[in-house]
């Protein structure tokens, strides 16, 4: 990168012609897709005349359901980039057996770094945050999260992070230091460019957003439960949401500290993690994994919550071992803070420390095993319906235990010594994150989609998608276990063992099938939107649901419930349906206060993005202005008094009576007709 000087440097920092992606055709194509995609979307919205609608109904909305949906849209968009990058890497490894392949080493390094960063921070995190946002307040009988504006700020900080990672595809090069960004490799001595700076600020934006999200969810669950919703009546998904939120509150700060100190090293020439002058990269490893390991459970716990809902709903049966599952969830959350050292057994510490952390890691296997068995017992003596959600959940059960097995192996320090840093490790954590995390999120997406939009997703394409993801995963990662055991290091741009060829080709095939799975998801969405009139479920209960989120129309009104429900049982909605009190008018309706839309969060997001971009390119005025603008937005907002809007009781009553009239005119369907057009969301009692 050439140094810029003079006035240009003052105005544009290190940004120069060299930053443009003309160094390789692949980079140019990637950047063009981003630029054209953004322009195309903008043109499309303009052509449809939807800017105003988008701004007033979505972007400035403080409704937890819309914020949740926007999180999931972000997750699916970023998932597309993540999967494409994965296929590019698989293709490179399949081609680069004793040959350089088509990706130069530097580009390959950027790919595995962005792939990991995107998949963790901009797919997994927004997906689970979106699902929790959409579902949790409805499950606990609340009208919104406790701090709606803060919720929107979290969203827009996350969007700003995602936008920055997209910008990095167009301007400059991303870090090659992997998603964990280990120094000293990410120090300016070894990577002087903007790459690690992009990585640092992308993560910082995302981690601040997640900390605030965790705080918001935890307070909501503690303080906003409907009358009668005791802790031991919370649906398991809400329990996992609570544990995940608590983990976010305590585990995101270590990441913020790790990236901040690395930034001090890079920007102010300090010596936290440098080789010389007393720096010590081992501190970074500890800080990063003090975040990184709880993060794994931040990701997996909400998926466990989804599986709990799906297994009990689609076997038409109460969840087996509810309290056991709750205690297991809490045990996992607590233990997750005691195992971080297993990410660096090979750093040369004393064997008793390694052994202690290895055993702590294995302890997590106990509650996790209990959960698996409790889910099996939930299916046992049920009436199992093979919906798309249930298929994802079953594939999870069968594949996740394989990941559990390899996890136990990796937790054994002497075994870790031989498979650490190999593709065995890569296969292991993908085994946990794809069948565990992602299948959970996709199951939840299929499960709650009708609640969010009022129509079911197409069943056939759902099954095709599920089959592709399952098969694709097996083919893509099981071979890597084998080559990992044979000592193939992760992040290899070129492979020198010809005997790996069949395995890597198989993995390539798996990658392509996963790509087909991703494509099927979008086809399913498209087909479902086209056929939405056949699949409408306005009454709101398409799956004979058990918890409160099914007790309102689909899509639910802004304020979720016409009157706040009184909770009497763990399966609150099933209890109501069994007693015939699920669809009754209230004796008394109240005015409902809901937050007005606010542009503050969008403003903060844009300001934060500018600030981060300025920091990356050393455009100091922009960094300062951005940061100042973000804080100014907060202060200005604190002077706004008229933040709430009242929905009069009469309007609520009218809406409720309208819905009840619709129900009265609707035929309840048995579970045999679940997938037919006859299912408009009213379940026959006692299936």
């Amino acid at each position: 990168m050439t140094e810029t000087t003079g006035l240009w440097h003052l105005l544009m920092g290190n940004l120069s012609y060299d930053a443009l992606p003309f160094y390789s055709p692949i980079a140019t194509v990637g950047a063009s897709i981003v630029v054209l995609g953004a322009l195309g979307t903008a043109v499309l919205i303009t052509w449809l005349g939807k800017w105003k609608y988008l701004w007033s109904e979505w972007l400035t909305s403080l409704d937890h359901k819309r914020i949740g949906i926007m999180y999931i849209v972000l997750a699916l968009l970023m998932l597309s980039r993540g999967v494409i990058e994965a296929v590019m890497m698989r293709t490179q490894q399949a081609l680069a057996i004793q040959s350089p392949g088509y990706l130069p080493p530097d580009h390959f390094g950027q790919l595995f770094s962005t792939h990991g960063t995107i998949m963790i921070f901009f797919v997994a995190m927004p997906f689970l945050t979106g699902l929790i946002n959409f579902v949790m307040p409805q499950q606990i009988g609340a009208r919104d999260v406790r701090f709606p504006l803060l919720n929107a700020i979290s969203l827009w900080l996350t969007v700003a992070g995602a936008a920055l990672v997209m910008v990095s595809l167009v301007l400059g090069k991303f870090s090659t230091g992997g998603w964990s960004g280990y120094p000293p490799y990410t120090e300016s001595a070894y990577q002087p460019g903007v790459g690690p700076d992009y990585w640092i600020w992308v993560l910082t934006l995302s981690s601040i957003g997640s900390t605030l999200t965790g705080l918001n969810f935890a307070v909501t669950i503690y303080k906003e439960r409907a009358p009668g919703m005791r802790f031991f009546r919370l649906p398991l998904f809400t329990w996992t949401a609570l544990c995940t939120s608590i983990l976010m509150i305590f585990a995101m700060p270590p990441l913020t500290v790790a990236t901040a100190l690395l930034a001090l090293d890079r920007y102010l020439d300090m010596h936290f993690f440098t080789n010389a002058l007393g720096g010590n990269m081992m501190n970074y490893a500890n800080l990063f994994w003090l975040f990184g390991h709880p993060e794994v459970y931040i990701l997996i716990l909400p998926a466990f919550g989804v599986f709990s809902s799906v297994f009990s709903t689609f076997s038409a049966k109460r969840l087996y071992g509810y309290k056991s599952l709750v205690y297991a969830t809490m045990a996992i959350a607590v233990l997750s803070f005691t195992v971080w050292l297993h990410h660096f057994f090979t750093m040369g510490q004393s064997p008793s420390i390694n052994a202690a952390f290895g055993i702590a890691t294995m302890l997590i296997g106990i509650p996790t095993g209990v959960k698996i068995y409790d889910w099996m017992l939930t299916l046992y003596r049920g009436r199992v319906r093979f919906s798309v959600s249930l298929l994802y959940s079953l594939m999870f059960m069968l594949l996740f235990v394989i990941g559990g097995l390899t996890g136990i192996l990796l937790a054994t320090p002497p075994v870790d010594f031989v498979v650490h840093n190999t593709v065995f490790l890569v296969a292991h954590f993908h085994n946990m994150l794809i069948p565990g995390m992602l299948f959970g999120m996709l199951a939840g997406y299929q499960f709650w989609f009708p609640k969010a939009f009022g129509f079911r997703l197409d069943e056939t394409w759902g099954r095709i998608g599920a089959a592709c993801w399952g098969l694709g995963f097996v083919l893509a990662f099981m071979p890597l276990y084998v080559t990992g055991l044979e000592g193939m290091p992760r992040r290899s741009q070129e492979i020198f063992q010809p005997q790996f060829a069949p395995y890597l080709l198989l993995a390539e095939l798996g990658g392509l099938i996963i790509l087909a799975g991703l494509f099927s998801l979008f086809v399913q969405l498209w087909v479902s939107i086209r056929r939405r009139d056949h699949n409408r479920v306005p009454v709101g209960d398409p799956w004979d649901g058990r918890s409160l989120e099914w007790a309102n129309p689909a899509p639910p009104p802004e304020y979720n419930f016409f009157t706040l429900p009184q909770v009497e049982d763990r399966d609150a909605f099933t209890w109501m349906k069994e007693r015939g009190v699920a669809y009754l008018p209230a004796q008394h309706y109240e005015d409902i206060e809901m937050p007005r839309n606010s542009a503050t969060a969008v403003a903060i997001g844009v300001a934060a993005l500018l600030s981060a971009f300025g920091l990356v390119w050393h455009i100091w005025w922009m960094a300062v202005v951005g940061l100042g603008a973000a804080w100014a937005a907060v202060i200005v907002r604190s002077f706004v008094r008229d933040t709430m809007r009242t929905i009069p009781a009469s309007e609520v009553e009218q809406a409720h009576r309208g819905w009840l009239r619709e129900i009265a005119a609707t035929r309840a369907v048995s579970r045999d007709e679940e997938m037919s057009a006859g299912n408009v969301g009213l379940a026959e009692s006692a299936s």
């Binding site: 064997p351 008793s352 003596r381 235990v401 031989v418 099981m478």
Partner: protein, 305 residues
Amino acid sequence: MVRDRISLRSLPQLLCVIGGLVLVLASAGCALQGNGFLNPVGPTAEAERQLFFEVTALTLIVVVPVLVLTPWIVWRYRRGNKQSAYRPKWEFSWPLEILAWGVPVLIVIALGLLLWNRTLRLDPYRPLSAALPPVEIQVVGLDWKWLFIYPRQGIATLNELVIPVGRPVHLTLTSDTVMQSFMVPNLAGQVYAMAAMKSQLNLQADRAGEFLGENTQYNGKGFQKQKFRTRAVSEQDFSRWLEHVQETGKRLDCDQYAGLMKQTLVPKPVHYARAEAGLFEWVVKKYQTEPSPACQSLTGESARD
């Protein structure tokens, strides 16, 4: 009937997944003849391989029932099968719960004991034999090559580790660049090499042969090519090789070493007849103090005793 169709339609998918799984795992069983620890050549890798199978076997006690029972349960209790029992309100059973917690607890206790015992025994810092004195070798991780210094013999090599068969080898590692991870999978597990710090690794080869050594920690553009040849040779061949290097190699002095610090790939192993004494210690120390000592402050003597 509709309900049968629903359950039958999903069957191929499940079979697909399970089938694929079995296929790949089966192929994993007949391991590749290769460089992994599953083809051990030394006592450490041998013990690690054994532990790998023991842990797998113990864990399978929990895993296999899930793999077998889950498909059976969902098939037996599918909605289409009206003969099977249906207990929608059943949600707890003490005996089953004790089993669900008890079995994993017992297995983790067993695994924990095994883990404690083996982790202490297979500590990479622990000497392999009390009787035989080990061959001392100092290892410096560089971008993107490995430097091996034999301090007793006064020689050094680049990207070639030669060790005598049947003798324990004691490696002391450091890095003169970013963190790297040193591994010869056929012989032993890996350990990190970090600047300003020393780590250790004990290993031994039980038979002669040529094995792959590698860096497993990504450290930049040349990472994937940072491999080295490990040759285990008989005691006689080892002495002969030492003599050969001492006669034919060049000298590793400060200037030479400064060249090695550049980010380069080395296509062929290089041999040094004489390595500067204290070079390894200097590499470690130069990061510890400011101002760091100059390489020229070394004695200029060969490392030979």
